[in-house]
Amino acid sequence: MNVAYFPGCSLHGLAKEYGISVEVVCKHLGINLNEIEDWNCCGATAAHSLNHELTISLSARNLAIARDMKMNKVLAPCAGCFSRLKGASYELRNNSVLAAEVGEIIQAEPPVEPEVSNLLQFIMEDQGLNAVAEKTIKPLQGLKLAAYYGCLLTRPKDVVQFDDPEQPISMDLILQAMGADTVVWAHKAECCGGGYAASDTDIVLDLSGQVLESAQQAGADAIVVACPMCGVNLDSRQEAIAAKKGKKYDLPIIYLTQLMGIAFGYSPAQLGLKRLLTSPFPLLQSKGLA
C-alpha cells in the first residue's frame, strides 16, 4: 500500500525514535511511505495561536504536494501535525470562502482530496487488528501498559471522527492484540500541556504531573504514546515533576511503534529505544523482551 508520509519536525528531531520505529513497522506491514517532497512545518501551536490563515495555508501547501504526488492518503504520526493537517483539510472542504483565500495565498488549487490519518486510525482502519496479531512473533506478555492518547488523536470529534473523544480504546486494542495488558485509568485522553514545554514549563509540570500520577496509581509499568509532544513532555519532564512532588515514577514513556517493533521481532537498537530518557530496558529485560 502506498501512502504519503508527513514526518513533521519532531520525528526528525526531538522524537527521532518515533520516526525510526514508524518506518520500521510500516515497512514490515508492507506499507510504502512516500515522504511529502520538500514538506514544510505544519505551524504547530504558534501558527494557530497567532494567525488562522497562515496555519491553514502551511498545511494546505503540504496537502497540495501530496495531491500532486497522486496520493489519496496522508499518514501523519505526530498528533500535532495530524491535528493541523486534518483541521485544515476539514476547513478547506467546508468553507469555500476560506478555501478560495488559501488558494490565493499558496497560489495553487486548494487541496481537498487527500484524507489525513493519524497512526492509530491508520492501523485500525487500513491494517486491522488481525494484521497486528498475525505479525506478532514476540508477544508483549506480562507488560501492564497505560495507553495514553492525549488530546489531539481523537479531538475535536467532529473533525477527527475516529474512536471516542474522551474514552478511546483503539490503542488499548492494538496493544492487546500484541499480548500486552492495558490498565483502566482516568487520564488517557487528558492534556500533557502540549506546546507549552519551553514557553511556560509550569503548565507542563502541572498537567503532565497529573498524567504520570494517574498512570502510576492505576499500576502501569509504562506509558505508551503516539504523539511526540506527549512523549517528550512525559519523558523529559519526569525528573523535574518527581523532584517537585518528592516522589519517584520511573515510568518509561514508549512510542507505540517501538513496542510494535519489539513484538514483530526487531531489536531495541533498530527501534531507537536507547534514545528514551527514562530507560525502558529494566522493564523489557524483566519480561524477556530485550
Binding site: C9, H12, G13, L14, A15, K16, D38, W39, N40, C41, G43, A44, T45, A46, A47, H48, S49, L50, N51, H52, E53, L54, S57, L58, R61, N95, E101, E104, I105, I106, Q107, C151, L152, R155, P156, K157, D158, P165, E166, E190, C191, G193, G194, G195, Y196, A198, S199, D200, T201, I203, D206, L207, S236, K274, R275, L277
Partner: protein, 193 residues
C-alpha cells in the same frame, strides 16, 4: 449605608453590544446564543484551575460585549487547545476557536500578552518557519533563552537531548523556502504598527 445599586450592576440588554457576538458568529462559525450556561465547558477544561476567566464566563462576556476584558485575559495565553470544552458542549460552541480568534485579534492590536514568553516563543517559531520552512529547535531554544533572559533554562536537558541524538545543531532548510516566504507575505492582515 451602601446603596445596593453600587453592588449590583444589573446590565440592561439595551446597554450591551451585539457586534462581538456577530463577529464571532461570522469568523468562528459558532452561535453563542445557543449557550445553555450549563458550565460543562468549564467543568472539563484542562486549565480552568489557572484561568482568570473560565470558558463559560468567556461566553457570557461575549454576550454582553465586554471585548476589552476578553482581549486582555490570561486565559488566551494559557489555553492548551485540548478541545475538551467543544467536545463536551451540548451546543457545540467552539471555544478553542474563539480563543484563537480573540488571541489573534489581541495580538494584531498589540494588546500586551499576560505571558510574554508564550507570545515570544510563538513569534520565534513563526520566524524559524519563515526562514527555513521548518522548526530549527536548537537555534530557537537559544534565541528564546536569550530574549526571555532565562540564560540557563533547560541547558542540562538540552545537552542530554543532544547526546541522545535528538537535537540537531544545524537547522535544515527546505528547497522551496521562497514559496513559504511568499505565503507569509500573501497573508492579508498582519500585526498593526
Amino acid at each position: 449605608m451602601h446603596n445596593t445599586a453600587d453592588f449590583y450592576h444589573v446590565l440592561r440588554i439595551d446597554q450591551t453590544s451585539n457586534s462581538l457576538r456577530e463577529e464571532i458568529k461570522e469568523h468562528c462559525h459558532t452561535d453563542i446564543e445557543m449557550c445553555l450556561e450549563c458550565g460543562k465547558c468549564s467543568g472539563g477544561c484542562s486549565n480552568a484551575h489557572i484561568f482568570d476567566i473560565t470558558p463559560r464566563k468567556i461566553i457570557q462576556l461575549i454576550k454582553i460585549g465586554e471585548e476589552a476584558k476578553l482581549l486582555k485575559m490570561d486565559a488566551l495565553w494559557s489555553c492548551v487547545a485540548c478541545q475538551l470544552c467543544v467536545d463536551r458542549c451540548p451546543s457545540s460552541i467552539n471555544i478553542p476557536k474563539i480563543m484563537d480568534y480573540m488571541r489573534e485579534k489581541a495580538y494584531k492590536q498589540c494588546v500586551p500578552a499576560t505571558r510574554p514568553n508564550v507570545e515570544l516563543f510563538h513569534e520565534l517559531m513563526l520566524g524559524s518557519i519563515k526562514q527555513y520552512g521548518r522548526v530549527a529547535e536548537a537555534l530557537m531554544t537559544v534565541q528564546f533563552n536569550i530574549k526571555s533572559k532565562q540564560y540557563t533554562k533547560d541547558a542540562e536537558m538540552g545537552i542530554k537531548m543532544f547526546f541522545k541524538g535528538k537535537l540537531n545543531p544545524l537547522p535544515s532548510r527546505i528547497k522551496n523556502v521562497q514559496q513559504v516566504r511568499r505565503m507569509f507575505r500573501n497573508i492579508p492582515a498582519q500585526r498593526e504598527g
